[in-house]
Symmetry: C2
Subunit: 141 residues, 2 copies
DNA sequence: GATTACTGTAATAATATCAGTTACAGTTGA
DNA sequence: TCAACTGTAACTGATATTATTACAGTAATC
């Protein structure tokens, strides 16, 4: 899995946890354990997909623009990691004389498309709000 | 996804397609489009897990040792790609003062364990035999 | 028993991917 | 006008992936 997905999920949970729903790229980066530029790149993508609003300039940062319970991991997955399941490496060669070698690419592709959908369905069942609850429950228990 | 998984699946389908169920690492490598050493490494693992028999020496190679219809992709996944879904990159820091930052690792981990199981369930439904049928059907159609 | 054709595995090299850093233009609040 | 932000691009360094080389061990065949 794409690690940008992880950063995105973490960031959104953090925003959801903030009373005012806001944080700067630097705050997020510290919390996630990475650098602000990487966070900004991910958040920029989340903004384009309507998950957050950004405020540039002094005192700015990111704000969650949707209800935590209405944002599923599937939404995030689709926005920045869809199709990441299939390996970059492609098996076989369409020009091969062998029936197996020449068709494996397509068949493998179909397998991974299915896997991707399966994964998406699973992610559909998990929301940012639920992850936050899970964390607060763990912290209290 | 681990590309060794792809090589393994392709190799087993190829063996299942062979009338005598056999092929050498070089033949497989050519068909898969990679080098024989890589194939041998993957096959070595498949042998240890009981998917194939090997015959060393002249005229040797690999032979499928199970019924194609009884080998699921889940079996293969478990043997050499289990847990590969979670990114190497880990979010947050257990020592963090922030509740979110310090617990995200665990929660994220749980999410990916679930995803892994989901994937395994999906792979359970696909067999080497079915993939081969799918290829022969495509080739004929 | 020598030769040939294989597997098994380690070590190394080449390449590609990923993550961190620096730099700087643009924006906004004070 | 200054300070604190975002948005991006370019560069560097780290890490992971794939290919290559090398060689020991095994078995069939001449």
């Amino acid at each position: 899995m794409n690690s940008e997905f992880v950063i995105a999920v973490h960031s959104l949970v953090l925003l959801a946890h903030r009373p005012d729903g806001m944080a700067s790229s630097e705050e997020i980066a510290t919390n996630v354990c990475t650098n602000p530029v990487r966070v900004r790149k991910v958040m920029s993508c989340l903004r384009k997909n309507g998950f957050v609003d950004t405020r540039e300039g002094s005192g700015g940062g990111y704000r969650l623009s949707r209800e935590p319970d209405n944002v599923t991991l599937a939404d995030i997955y689709r926005a920045l990691a869809s199709g990441s399941l299939a390996p970059s490496w492609c098996s076989g060669d369409p020009e091969s004389d062998c029936m197996v070698g020449s068709n494996m690419g397509n068949v493998m592709n179909a397998v991974f498309c299915g896997a991707d959908q399966q994964l998406e369905t699973y992610f559909e069942s998990i929301t940012i709000g639920r992850m936050l609850s899970s964390i607060t429950a763990t912290a209290k228990g």
